[in-house]
Symmetry: C2
Subunit: 419 residues, 2 copies
Amino acid sequence: MNKKNVFYAQSGGVTAVINATACGLIEAARANQEVLGKVLVGRNGILGALHEELIDTSLESAEQIHGLRYTPAGAFGSCRYKLKGLNEHKAEYERLIEVFAAHDIGYFMYNGGGDSQDTTHKVAQMSERLGYPLICIGIPKTVDNDLPITDNCPGFGSVAKYVAVSIREAGLDVASMAETSTKVFVMEVMGRHAGWIAAAGGLAAEEEGQAPHIILFPEITFDEKAFLEKVAQAVKHYGFCAIVVSEGLRNAAGEFIASAGLKDAFGHTQLGGVAPVIAALIKSQLDYKYHWAVCDYLQRAARHIASKTDVEQAYALGYKAIEFALTGKSGIMATIIRQPGIHYEWTIGETPLETVANQEKALPRHFISEDGFGITEACRDYLSPLIAGEDYPPYKNGLPHYVRLKNNLVPKKLREYTK
Amino acid sequence: MNKKNVFYAQSGGVTAVINATACGLIEAARANQEVLGKVLVGRNGILGALHEELIDTSLESAEQIHGLRYTPAGAFGSCRYKLKGLNEHKAEYERLIEVFAAHDIGYFMYNGGGDSQDTTHKVAQMSERLGYPLICIGIPKTVDNDLPITDNCPGFGSVAKYVAVSIREAGLDVASMAETSTKVFVMEVMGRHAGWIAAAGGLAAEEEGQAPHIILFPEITFDEKAFLEKVAQAVKHYGFCAIVVSEGLRNAAGEFIASAGLKDAFGHTQLGGVAPVIAALIKSQLDYKYHWAVCDYLQRAARHIASKTDVEQAYALGYKAIEFALTGKSGIMATIIRQPGIHYEWTIGETPLETVANQEKALPRHFISEDGFGITEACRDYLSPLIAGEDYPPYKNGLPHYVRLKNNLVPKKLREYTK
């Protein structure tokens, strides 16, 4: 029997646990080496396939591969590069198939968000059209938690934990100082179009008066007057006000409150800097002393405070993707299924790629409190298990000891790729 | 024998471990209750003494007090309030002594930075002048690490660890994405006049090419041209550039690169927002896609990633302050003494208050690399042991389970205080 190789790639913004998925996938493939060839990983995501830059993971030790479980970001490089439509740019897909054929690749595993699941779907269609047998499986990943069907997206639980821990800690700080100094603290978090990450901040407030007192969601149009009243109320009742604001907050005209004016390769506007705008507004209207923080990449790279649940799910999805492939399944994305019951239990399931490609799941309105500034119990019930458990990386010299792979490429067999 | 009570207060900006000092102090006092009375803590720092708002710690359980060891920020409230000169505002000092006399306080223990050690010193002088017997002991605390004599300042080691961990993690993130997306990442850290915190970021770079590639210190005048060249070099050689910038960065005219224009009660300008300025400069001159983060309070409140060494030193200083007091020592600040040798070992020592009052210890020039953009081996040798070890708080529902004290006040005996 001819053992086919597996192609795997990471796509889009990286997370604290995307390498845990790679770890699960490579360890599952190694556990099935009587039927599977090597796992070849695209250097810098799908670009690695186009440019025939394939990392040979068989050259990495078991120890190094295991280290991926606790190493954040993309160990093989990721990319923001979206394949065009099938007919629009057929040559790109043909090149992929050409590279896969040259390297005896029978499995295509793509780890990313909604855009990436669309790519996986198109690769599956093209391989069928060209008569090249290829098992195509999508694996979810996005800190934004905006993929449909799956209970949640790997990477999100760890960002959620980081955000909730951070606003709890900063809230205690501000509470200590509020009598004579800072009264308002504004923390900006990610979430371009969906308020999942901002909502996670709400988990920190378990008792009356605890931070955060206000959450500003991208789903709720910014109402300056109601907001300022709420800030003043919090300062009056609790002595201070802690605010979590999503980078995607918009005004009534639908414009982002702050925008860097840059667009990424997917055409999304690059945001950042809404926290200082909100802080300055409070200063000018209420004259409270303020501080603000912008978490940016720190939040999605924070493997040191990763959610154990998140790490386990990320690993399981990678492992299961190989098992699905071995049963001949294709054209699916692996999903997390939440089991009914009071205690959080989950299994890995599957869904056809077309159900998730290019989809975005917004935070439902019933997860946001009536006044638009907080989360509901339903939201808390959903989010709480996703941040459960700690999974600390090993430390050396006081710092997390993350692995650095050799990342040797397999020899090229084809001509250079030019568009 | 009349057992005198102990007054303790936290002053200025709080830290991840200032409560560990309170924990050590209260536990030491409880261990010596045959000779010591209660520990009464100023609500919101020294203001609590002026307003006769004294928290009775004897009403807190041993378990709650022990919980202070792993709870960040100021559990009793802190304040930014500087006592005036002895002659300038004698009434304020007389009020303090009046409150201490009314509550049978024989020990004054003040936990803060250089400004606070000055206050401790003045209280000691005034008690002598007024013939009120009071043992006065200062306990160091400041994330800025700018107190002289002591090897380091409690609070700093944990900020240092947070900053080094954060830039390592964010650096891995940027490295993953740099091929098609973000090439430059700028992280802003605290340190108004001293670059100790920024320097700590340098610990993350243990191998060639690792983040951070550039550190911008308050001690080194910002040289735009040299900086931009260094950024371009890093991007060329490593594919990306990670930068740690101190909030206190200044231009050739001595002005802060970014300033919120606010001043605190000590007359210090409140800073924030140099990261976006640096990022925008890079965009305009080099046209690299960038991201930036501002750590702000998150860095000094981050008990979840505290340095074990820092926690142990903070606790030991509080404990030893009581032991010093019981031997009759007064007019001193407890210090950390680094023992000679390859392995980091430390003991608690003492220094007269006048040697530390209102002093600031800048980062020595030989701790900064010749080009002004990094740290030297000498700096690394000094900093490295301060971030050693992890000391995780307990977790509940996926979040650090920090204690919240009852903070009951002792009944007032005096008239209201008015200036």
